[in-house]
Structures are given as structure tokens and as C-alpha cells.
Symmetry: C2
Subunit: 466 residues, 2 copies
């Protein structure tokens, strides 16, 4: 980061950014006023000196209309990296307004991974038209990148790296780096390759710096380094970076030849994305955050989950409907029944969330699944017993009927047991069946705890109280 | 990572690890067998060659008893870094079994941040006893580190860094690095300090490597670098690393003097932790994952949330209780009422989760709060209208009563509007009141959607149907 971040950092240090993030809300207000006043010069002066990520944040925070106006003022001068830092949805808003020639030039300046991020957000025709504007060498790399599966290491890697043979000495590397123009903007290690261009070692820069010029690379290189295959899923790759505290890793093709490099900044983004995805999926929002979608698009994307929820709610209603006669005789049942279902849903969600998260971080796996499963059932029984007593007493006192207390106590115990059982079983099974446990699990779980909650409570009441 | 990670990585590349993570379940089975057979030699041979993070994973995955036995075999030989990689709970299981002299020696070998992580998991007496075993210089640094607030940059920083004056040239730095023994194990940048030891610039190693020996540092340094204050919250720090793609940053004390360095591997952990914390809090689990707690401890830690949920469920029951007479006359109401509440809860949770996550990533803030709030209300109304029609038709057909359809349709529309309103308002307000929006928000929300759902549906029924 070469640009004006000093104030931003001081703000954060002093807790002075009411926005919490780099750019203050006062600054955004000034930008908004300038947009309204068509003050192009002011906007250029204030915005173009900022770091690319802060520029992207400004675009994200503005409304769709403000965004378009600001873009019309700045477009020729916006740094290409700012585009690559934009949220997908905001990028789509802006990208269509570019003259193809300018956009092509910008994309040509980017690293391959950033270029393909922008291009994958264009429709095929525009993409092809743009690709023609890009010089042949980078164009081929971009096309290759777009052919790797989404969320793979191939998409995230950059094609620039430093690779040298193992018999070189430190002095040769230093001279090479000083002389060569084909070196990446940022790198943390150099890769050592054999004659077939297969990576056989890495040397972190700090190790290189601390070694005498005459030292041979093979003597200081890390042997058997972590190597990422081009098709590796980004989640697996992120795991390797975390587990082994990596800052970069060589990427190899199916012939195990070095073709690129992934760096830790990309991995940081992957980690954020994956955590966000799981969190949103648990709440019934598939994929990315919909913060930047229009209201009707958001409503449409959330509809399907709510519709499935409606079906499961109707299922619960059907369970209740079986006991209409019982409810008619003891209306207190209708009053109390949501308690049983709600407690089951909550206890189950606790278990479920721990399990989904632990599966994602690989702390939960085949080797300890049975133990965790058993423990969660036990937790359900322990809290089931405690809440059975509490709720039983509350119900008995409220309605002055011992029988009602006993029925709700039994139903509570059973439903919290069920919650623990299914809260752990559902994500484990989904994972085994290669279904994303974050996505389907919570709806399945609450269906079970609702239906079981209503059915057992009302069923017991019918058996014992009538 | 210097050790046996090759097979692990190949396994991941080949999708062959049934565990998903670095160590295969077959390997764990072998370890378990060796533990049972008391085969100390086998365990040493197989485990001690592994990377510290993999060793930690093995301990985490074993049961409490297996853990203890394995520890008794390996204790003198376990690398200190493996201890620092352990989950807090597992660390506590192990740490009490150490001879203080051995533990003191191990801790003395660690970087300050890792040493204080281990020490903060001991009770005060043991901590003090251990500290006495550690040589004076590192001991003082560790004590200082423990005095910084938890989750602050001060806790995460290491005290080793490379700092040189700006008038040095590249050659001097290289000679200094080659000659000095007081250089951190890993570093990615050198820091440039003024005579008061205040950081005025940074030079990434790759820039240093590519510059001629005679180049003066002040000509290649990044001016106004991102500087972290020792009291900065780890979340803010992580934000800076992400925003500006940092690999390390200088940490300063209240006099703005350089006292340490944070590196990206620590930040990667912070990002994981913070995302996990939010996810678990939304599900009613405060703080860390309880995966490694015993069943009764887990039950106890989850109890309080369930108890609060019980109170809110009783509140909803009281709302229903107001309409006992109405339900007695029209039992269909009891059958249908959970649908209204459930849909409200789900729609609200969608909004809430997007808002909580966007607040955490700072995409949602003062400058766009009003717009997001308005949008969420609109989303609630749109889906409210659609589901009003669907549910209205279902109810009318099911019970053969138009009136019932109209009542549930109106209640659904109103409750999804309420869900959007409070789903967005609650986290925004909690954040403004400096309360963690992840923790209280979902219980508040479902209380509102439950109570409103039951009250409006039954209230409308009483007004319109009786």
C-alpha cells in the first residue's frame, strides 16, 4: 500500500471512524455533496490519491445512482486494481459503462487472477470483444485462467513468479532479481525448480537475504515444500496456508510443472468468503451476500428458502391438525405448544452450528465424529432434564394442572434429545453424502424439532390427559 | 514448514484424505492402536517428524484419555510450537501434566505471543511459578504482553523485528542481516525508524532484494506505512491487513515508538476466530467453539441462552393465552398460527444475518445504514405480499373458510414486514449502543416475530372472524 492510508490508520487507532472502516462517514458525506454539485475536480483530488481498496469501498457504499455519476467523472483515471477490489454486484453496475477500449487497457494491466475476476462478470459476447483488445501473451493466460473451475487454485493464482535452478547460489539470484524485469510486483519466496520445471523447494526471501552470496540454493531451500495443484479447491488451499503459516505457494499443472503462484492475500479473501458463505447459508441465503442487490432481486433470491420453510411449517401444522379435538378440549395445549418447538429448534441450532463450523475448519471429521455425536446427545439429555423440570413447573403453576406439567416436561426432554441427535447427525450425514452441510441442515433440523415437538407434546396430552 | 507435509499435500491434491484435513483417518487409527499398545517408539517415530500444526491436530482429535496417554509418551520431546497451536481447551487438558521445569524451558523458546497464549491458560499461581523459570529478558517481554488487553495487537505481536535508520543503504542492511543473530525467524519487511525509534517507513524484502547495494533506504521505502497501535483491537488490525494486503505491520506504543511486529499468519487466525465467533453467537453460543468441552460443561455453557429463549417463548405463549377463547371457538387458528411465526422468524433471520455479517466486514455502516434499512423493509413487503397470497389460499382451501385465508394473509404480510424492519434495525441499534450485534440480535428478533406473529394473527381472527 503506497498511498494515503496514514490518516485512515490513525483514525482507527483513535477510534475516530464512526464508520468503523477506513473511510469516515464525514468523508462520504463530502463525496456525496461533491457528486451532487458535479464537482469533478474535487472528486478526482480526494479519491484518486486513495488506496485501491478504499476507492472500491467508496463505490460500494454509495447508492446505485451516485455510483454511476462518480464513475462518469473518474472512469478514465480509475486504477485497474480498484475495479478488481469491487464486490461482484457493484462491479457489474459499473463495468457496463466502460468504453471497451479503456476497459481492455485496464484489464491488460492487471495480474491474471484479477483480470479473470473482472472478465467472469461480463457476458460472453462482451468478454470476447474485450479479450481481443488485450495483447496476445496476457490474453492467453487469462483465457487459460477462465478455463479452471471456479473456486480453484487455478483461478486464484498469478502467473508471475520467480523460479530458479537449485545449483544457483544466492548471489546469482540477487543479480537475477536486480536485472530482470519479469518479476512479480510482490513475492515472499523464490521457487526452486528441476530441469522439468517441477518445484523441488522454496526459499523464503528472509532466508535468502541472510545468506552469503556464495551459498548454494539447494543448501538453504525448504525441501518437500507445500505444492498446490491447479485444480485444488480454494478451501483446501486456504487450509494449507493456515496450517503451515504460508505466505505463498507454487501451483502446478497436471504434469506437476510449475505454472503459477498463490499468495496469502488471496487466501485471506478466500477465508473471509468461505466463512461468510457458511454463515449466510445457515440463515437460508445461498451464495454471496445480497447487500448490493436491489430489493426485488434480494426478495427473489430469498424467496426459495422461505418457500421451503413454508412447506416445513405446513408439515408442522399438519402434525398439530391431527390433534384438533384434543386442543379443543384443552386450549392450554395451544398456548404451551410453541415453547416445546422453540426450545427444540434453539438447542438443535446450537449443536448444528458448532458441527457445521467444525466440519468447515476440519476439527470435526471421521475420526472424532462418533464421540462428538455421543456428546451432543448427552448435552441434549442434560439440558432436556433441566428444562423439563423448569417448564413442567411453569406449566403446572400457570394452568393449575399437574398433568399438563408432566406432559410438557416429557415432551421437552424428548425434543431436546431429538435436537441434539439431529443437530449433530444432519450435518455429518450431509457431509458424507457430499452435500454442503451449511445449506440444507438448518431447515431439515427445524422441521424435525417442530414436527416432533408438536407431535410428541400433543400426542402425550391426548394419551395422558384425556 | 520444514517437515513432512509432502504426503499430506499430495493427499489433499488427490482428494484422498477421508478426514478432509492434513492427517488421514487411517493414520489416526494407527496412532490410536499404538496408544493402546503403549508403543512409545512408534508414536515418537510417526508423530515427532510432523509439522507442529499437524501434531496439534492429532492431540485435538483424540479423546481426553488418549490425549493424556499420548502426552505421557511424548512430553519431553514435543516441540513448543505444537503446544501453541493447540485449541485452548485441549491445551488446558495437557498443560497441567507438565513438569514445571520442562514447561518453563519450552515456553522460553517461543515467540512472545505464543508464550503468553500458553501462560494465559494457566491459573495465576502456576503462571507465576513458571515465569520464574524463564530467563529475565524474555520473561519481562512476556509479562508486558500479558498486560495488554486480550484481543489487542499487543497480545498478538512478536517482539523481534528488523529496524534500521533511513540513511542506510541496501548493502548495509544485507550485511547487517547476514551478521546479526537478533533477527526474527520469519519477516517480510524491514522497518525504517527515525532517531526516536518511531517507524517512518517499511521496505518489503522483495523490494530490498531487487535494489542495488548503493540505493538508500529512504528512496525505496513505503512512506506513511500502516502502523498498528499496541492497544488496537485485533478485528481492526485484521481489517487493515485485509484492506491493504499486508504481510506484516509495525506495532507502536503510546509514545508511537516501535515495539513489535504483527504478521499475516496471526491475522489469518484472527479472521477465522472472529468469523467463527459471530457465527456461533448468532446460534446462541457465546465465545469459542465448545467442541472440546466435556458434555456437562457444554450443557452448562449453552444453558443460559436456552433459558433466555425459554423466557421469550413464554412471552409468546402469553400472547397466545390472551386469545384462548378465540382458539376454543376456531381450533384451526392453533393449527395455522405456527406458520405465521415461523415464516417471520426465518425471513427476519435472513435479514439479520446479512446485517450482522456486513457490520462485521464494515460493508454496512453509518453511511449506507438508512438505505439498507429501507431496502430490507421493502424486501419484507415484497415477500410478505407473495407469501400472503400463497398462505391465504392454502388456509382457505384447507379449512374451507375465506375469512381464515384473509386473516392469515394479512398476518403474514404484517409479520414479514416486521421481520425486515427488526431484522435490520436490531443489529444496527445494538452496534450503535456498542453491544455486539451478533450476540443479542437473534433472540431479540425471534421474540418480536413470534409475539407479533401470534398476536396479530389471533387478534385479527378475533376481530374479523368472531
Amino acid at each position: 500500500m503506497e498511498k494515503k492510508s496514514k490518516n485512515i490508520v490513525e483514525n482507527i487507532n483513535n477510534n475516530e471512524t464512526s464508520l468503523g472502516f477506513g473511510i469516515s462517514s464525514i468523508f462520504i458525506d463530502e463525496i456525496r455533496n461533491a457528486i451532487r454539485a458535479n464537482d469533478k475536480q474535487y472528486l478526482e483530488d480526494k479519491i484518486l490519491i486513495l488506496h485501491q481498496a478504499d476507492i472500491a469501498d467508496i463505490f460500494e457504499i454509495l447508492s446505485k445512482e451516485e455510483r454511476k455519476t462518480l464513475f462518469s467523472f473518474l472512469q478514465d483515471k480509475l486504477p485497474a486494481e480498484a475495479l478488481a477490489s469491487l464486490d461482484e454486484q457493484v462491479l457489474k453496475d459499473i463495468i457496463d459503462n466502460y468504453k471497451p477500449s479503456i476497459l481492455g487497457e485496464l484489464i491488460g494491466k492487471l495480474e491474471t487472477d484479477d483480470a479473470s475476476y473482472i472478465l467472469e462478470n461480463l457476458d460472453i459476447e462482451k468478454r470476447d470483444a474485450l479479450l481481443e483488445q488485450i495483447p496476445k501473451a496476457p490474453r492467453n493466460l487469462i483465457i487459460q485462467s477462465l478455463q479452471f473451475p471456479e473456486m480453484s487454485a487455478g483461478r486464484l493464482m498469478q502467473r508471475d513468479y520467480v523460479a530458479v535452478p537449485r545449483y544457483w547460489n544466492v548471489g546469482q539470484v540477487i543479480d537475477f532479481l536486480r536485472g530482470s524485469s519479469k518479476v512479480p510486483d510482490q513475492f515472499y519466496s523464490i521457487f526452486i525448480v528441476d530441469p522439468k520445471h517441477m518445484p523441488v523447494g522454496t526459499v523464503p526471501l528472509h532466508k535468502l537475504m541472510r545468506s552469503e552470496r556464495k551459498v548454494i540454493l539447494s543448501d538453504i531451500m525448504i525441501k518437500e515444500p507445500v505444492i498446490v495443484s491447479v485444480t485444488m479447491d480454494q478451501e483446501d488451499m486456504a487450509f494449507l496456508f493456515e496450517q503451515y503459516d504460508l505466505t505463498s505457494a507454487p501451483v502446478v499443472n497436471s504434469q506437476n510443472r510449475l505454472i503459477g503462484m498463490v499468495t496469502v492475500d488471496d487466501v485471506v479473501e478466500v477465508i473471509q468468503e468461505e466463512a461468510e458463505e457458511d454463515m449466510l447459508k445457515l440463515a437460508g441465503i445461498s451464495g454471496d451476500t445480497d447487500l448490493y442487490l436491489a430489493a426485488w432481486q434480494t426478495a427473489r433470491s430469498r424467496f426459495s428458502w422461505l418457500f421451503i420453510n413454508l412447506l416445513t411449517a405446513i408439515l408442522a401444522s399438519i402434525a398439530i391438525g391431527l390433534f384438533e379435538g384434543t386442543i379443543k378440549q384443552i386450549v392450554a395445549l395451544a398456548v404451551l405448544m410453541p415453547i416445546v418447538a422453540s426450545m427444540g429448534g434453539n438447542a438443535g441450532t446450537q449443536t448444528l452450528t458448532v458441527a457445521v463450523r467444525a466440519l468447515a475448519t476440519r476439527e470435526l471429521n471421521q475420526s472424532n465424529a462418533l464421540r462428538v455425536f455421543g456428546k451432543e446427545i448427552l448435552v441434549g439429555i442434560i439440558n432436556g432434564l433441566i428444562f423439563a423440570v423448569i417448564v413442567g413447573l411453569v406449566a403446572a403453576l400457570w394452568f393449575g394442572e399437574h398433568g399438563l406439567g408432566i406432559v410438557i416436561a416429557l415432551a421437552m426432554l424428548f425434543n431436546l434429545f431429538v435436537a441434539g441427535f439431529f443437530g449433530a447427525a444432519i450435518p455429518l450425514l450431509l457431509q458424507r453424502w457430499k452435500i454442503d452441510p451449511a445449506l440444507g441442515a438448518s431447515i431439515l433440523l427445524t422441521t424435525v424439532t417442530d414436527v416432533v415437538g408438536f407431535f410428541v407434546f400433543l400426542g402425550l396430552a391426548q394419551m395422558l390427559l384425556i
